[in-house]
Amino acid sequence: MAEPILELAGLQKRFGGLAVTEDVSLRVAPGGIHAIIGPNGAGKTTLIHQISGTLRPDAGRILFGGRDVTALPLQRRARLGLARSFQITCILPGFTVLENAALAVQARSGSSFRFFRPAASETALNRQAMSALEQVGLAGRATTPAGALSHGEKRQLELAIALAMQPRLLLLDEALAGAGPEETERLVTILRGLKGAYTILLVEHDMQAVFALADRISVLVYGRVIATGEPDAIRGNPEVRAAYLGEDDA
């Protein structure tokens, strides 16, 4: 295995007496899509929060690009190239679609302690923001206030913001959450288009989408990774079937 872009070693997180992350160790190789699946209450969201930096683990280490980022807050990890999307859409409703993405470009384009020039007239920012919007098929909505987008479009924008950061790792927390069948299809197509260009860690509920997209899958059950492997291997793994897939069959 190549040098992992992200490595989790012995992560633990408890809320009171409840161990939500028991002991998670995981390596994510650069390139491709790595998915984390697991039944409700498996601790997927808590894990994502620890990886992105909104929650501090009680024990264990997080290495990003070989660097220990366990103690770094969200914004510092973002600067290092760790972009995340949110399960509950987190966009700036009062900003235009373009300005949402332009803010992310701005974050990696020199100092933002600039007081004179109107940011909206910075063509370099706008151009890169536009190209992120094009990647997710939102270019036509650039001047729309983000708050006026449909739910599916908001998910697309969420993705575009992450892409505008030109991340080394894209952390997608239930990118398909709440999307209808048509929207899901569109989002899956977009994600497939990103494959190869970005390393993606996908935490997802939608099994069909996961098996259609992922190169590797890790299964999280009760705060532990019980299996990691290629989709076919995971599908055939009896332990996984018992813990998770079996529920769907029943």
């Binding site: 969200l74 987190c90 700036l92 009062g94 600039r114 940011a119």
Partner: protein
């Protein structure tokens, strides 16, 4: 483009009226004093609107910044220094420093906590001013003379003072508008909408908010210099929390979303207050409900009034 013209029509009209006021029969006495006071408070309100509407920082201690400016004039006056080239930088620096120091603590909190902490710092400034026995304490301090401009007594002239206030008000407006449109302002505005989103793309909102708070403090400090000069008298009541409340109210009355709303709010506040005061001794009984009605029914404040009226006409 058309909406842009429509949006700036009202503030431009108001500023033009202020510029023409001395020639519209307001040239004498109390009316000019009143307008100067309104413009000075408008300047402070603009700076508050900058951090409130722009950065979401609801300060209930903004009058303290005004007070720092005013007391800088007092303290320098007492030392025999009245030159604007000294007074203005000292006053602005004092107010901005106070804002930065208190902001460094306050901005770590948010919501109600932020309001309470700014209130507490404001009251600290108030009681400190009241205990400055050498500068009049509770009774206040009467200035020996107005601040001089390069050794001249120009500011003593009613007309010059009027245009100085108007000029500074316009400058504050333009400065805040420029800041909000810049990269810096974009981070502020974004952090106001969603702090989480801003952090997730790689910004820590704290330093941006702190700098904005300092700038707002500096502008309010400058307004404080003008306020001291307008009345040639400074008292701790300038810093009292009621004054901070008034400023907050001017901003909300004018419309939180727009900087020029603060100007409209301040003018309306000062003029209506004065007008009612002439009609009846119990003017507060009328003023209070008026303000409540304004907040309830003026969506987007006074600045949003033209659009609201046009909308109603188009619908009707």
């Amino acid at each position: 483009m058309r909406t842009r013209i429509r949006e700036s029509a009202l503030p431009l009209l108001v500023l033009a009226l202020l510029a023409a006021a001395p020639f519209l029969g307001f040239g004498e006495g109390w009316a000019m004093t009143l307008l100067a006071r309104a413009m000075i408070l408008a300047m402070a309100a603009v700076s508050l609107s900058f951090i409130l509407g722009g950065a979401g920082l609801i300060s209930l201690g903004h009058a303290a910044m005004l007070g720092f400016g005013a007391y800088a004039v007092v303290i320098l006056d007492d030392a025999g220094i009245t030159e604007a080239a000294v007074v203005v930088p000292v006053a602005v620096a004092a107010a901005a420093s106070f804002a930065l120091l208190t902001g460094a603590v306050a901005i770590r909190t948010s919501g109600v906590h932020f309001i309470m902490i700014t209130l507490a710092f404001g009251q600290m400034a108030f009681f400190t001013a009241a205990s400055l026995a050498g500068y009049g304490g509770d009774d206040g301090y009467t200035l020996y003379s107005r601040t001089s401009l390069g050794g001249t007594r120009w500011l003593e002239d009613r007309l010059v003072f009027h245009y100085a206030c108007l000029g500074l008000l316009v400058l504050s407006l333009l400065l805040c508008r420029m800041l909000l449109a810049s990269r810096f302002g974009r981070v502020l505005r974004a952090a106001k909408e969603s702090s989480l989103r801003v952090r997730a793309v790689g910004f820590d909102p704290y330093p941006y908010r702190l700098v904005a708070y300092g700038i707002a403090g500096g502008i309010a400090g400058l307004a404080g210099v003008m306020l001291a000069n307008a009345t040639e008298f400074v008292a701790p009541s300038y810093i009292a929390w009621q004054r901070s409340g008034d400023l907050l109210f001017m901003v909300i009355l004018g419309g939180v979303g727009s900087l020029h709303g603060a100007v409209l709010g301040a003018l309306a506040f000062v003029l209506v207050e004065e007008w009612l005061g002439h009609i009846t001794e119990h003017w507060r009984l009328i003023f209070g409900p008026l303000l409540i009605l304004a907040v309830l029914f003026l969506r987007g404040g006074l600045a949003g009034l033209p659009a609201q009226l046009l909308g109603a006409r188009n619908r009707g």
